[in-house]
Symmetry: C2
Subunit: 382 residues, 2 copies
Amino acid sequence: MPQGVVAGSIPLFAGHPSPDLLPIDGLQRIIRSAWDAPNVARFLNYGDEQGDRQLIEFLVERLNRAEGLGICGENLMIIGGSTWGVGMATQQLTAPGDAVLVDAPSYRDALHIFRDHRLEICAAPIDDEGIIIADLERCLRKLAADGVAPRFYYVVPNFQNPSGITMSRERRLAIIELSRQYDFVIVEDDVYSDLRFEGAAPPSFFDLARGENVLRLGTFSKTLAPGLRIGWLIASPDRIAGFVESGMLRMGGGANPFTAAVVADYCHSGVWEAHVQWLRGQYRRRRDIALKALEASMPSGVTWTQPRGGYFIWLRLPSSAPVDALEEQAQEQGVYFASGKGFYVNPADGAHHLRLSFSFVPLPDLRKGIEILGNLIARMAE
Amino acid sequence: MPQGVVAGSIPLFAGHPSPDLLPIDGLQRIIRSAWDAPNVARFLNYGDEQGDRQLIEFLVERLNRAEGLGICGENLMIIGGSTWGVGMATQQLTAPGDAVLVDAPSYRDALHIFRDHRLEICAAPIDDEGIIIADLERCLRKLAADGVAPRFYYVVPNFQNPSGITMSRERRLAIIELSRQYDFVIVEDDVYSDLRFEGAAPPSFFDLARGENVLRLGTFSKTLAPGLRIGWLIASPDRIAGFVESGMLRMGGGANPFTAAVVADYCHSGVWEAHVQWLRGQYRRRRDIALKALEASMPSGVTWTQPRGGYFIWLRLPSSAPVDALEEQAQEQGVYFASGKGFYVNPADGAHHLRLSFSFVPLPDLRKGIEILGNLIARMAE
């Protein structure tokens, strides 16, 4: 169970994959067959700081095939998951007192990382197409007036955590334009893009900017298993070399040689694409059930996003239902969600928001948890 | 093969375990049996930021039993290997421009980490009992005169990398005294202590200081397999809580849930102690062969340490044999060693030193490599 989960409760806060979505059989097959004596050093000894070669090769080939990126092995390194990559990027690109740009709301763990690095965090609000460019420009002009150059803009571009929103192509292009004008890097935390349920994906920032001044993070946490702690970073060859060589990011023999080799063999065996395809159906079904339950249970005045992929739905509560009061009452009934307050630089901005995760809880609990929340919100309006 | 190894060469530089010392059968048994469906989330999902509970429990019990430490679960967290821990400690305890204290020579990757964090590195020489206290005091007085308080003293206390030296109990006590007087932390990178071939171990800094202001790092890299990337950090409960909560050290669900669970189950099955016992015999044999080969091959004027454990022997070359010239000639004959220059803040201090690792190469290569070096050094004296 995720940390902090009370037995018997409905943890709608948990951004974990449901245990039945973890490919235990497939991974066990790989681990049983691939790991023989001539191969053992690749699994068990120190590796290369850039990461498992066969996994790098697989990812480069896949990204070039699926997106026409045109990257090579020098553009990619293996990392211990994407949150870890956000920490790495922050460590490498900033010093205490520097400024970074984020969406409001934004990924909670990223805000925590930026705060503990003692950065000035400048947030601009999002709408259904992502960050609002006029507001971002206002941030940038204000920083410029103070003589501050922001180091990077951090974004989850697809099925954003917490809102589920995907940023439009136009917004991406406008941000790339601003990144050139104001000289900041774009850190693209692209963890959910493989879990698209419908519609076409806009090109990545990395693609649109032709790889210039973009760090793009990816992960196997959502499409294989978080416990393996394997992700990747795509950037220009000189940036990758800088990360690999940096004493500040020393991993001691590359990111997780054992699990990286397992993931590489799993992917090379050809079963990963089918697994991702299957997962898309599973998560789409979960999303549909959650949206249907919201439709059936929520009183008027509550609005929510319609994510086309990923793990999350973002709710806006009516003024009669402050999230703190709802949280207290919901927990009494065993329902836990992620309060909107954790996703804002200024927590009060999230006082009428909450994030529901449809990825983890059993389907009956998903319906029941949403129904309980709907009843509580309705009662608060009385 | 370790990174940078030329096929057919004798890589006496490699601080890797020899592939035949990796417990492939034992680990495969664990991975095949322990990882069943009710257990799968522990292996494959996000874990607790402090690390796998069962591994924490095992380590606490073992350290209390073997050393009488008297620690509890709040004193220990799981990390992704000890080099990673050095990075964590540096990140958490220092800011650019701060000073740290090290041995001369010291672990090369630690120096790399400190340098890239833009720290002032103050080194004092070692003798057969570890750092020379009078020289360390001179460093401290000089820093104090400049108004600088060093943040920590970094040391590999047992079978030091690169020298193989173990610091005496008296020196440890003197350093703890100084750490109180000058208010610095001791970072004890205790990676080799389980590989003791003979004699009794002095108590750890953590033990002698009753856990006050000591961070002690341990690892399974030397006694199980580096590719699993599992180590641990012991410190006071408030320091551990600080590390676990810190956004600067975010791992995204704890250090490597999959391999941590594998290691925990391996250890709990009771086979680890026997494996460590067996490894001690294997590495002792390798050490003996290396020392015998040095005795037989080295001309007069070459001296070396007599490590009682660990991986390394440290050679001092005569003035006729500068390490740069020897390195060039040795590489022409396919023999690679670690030049002494990488282990000093001021590389020139290592211009007549080299580190031999007896952990990795096949035994005939160990003898042959040392013989080739002996011949080259003898010829340089002619």
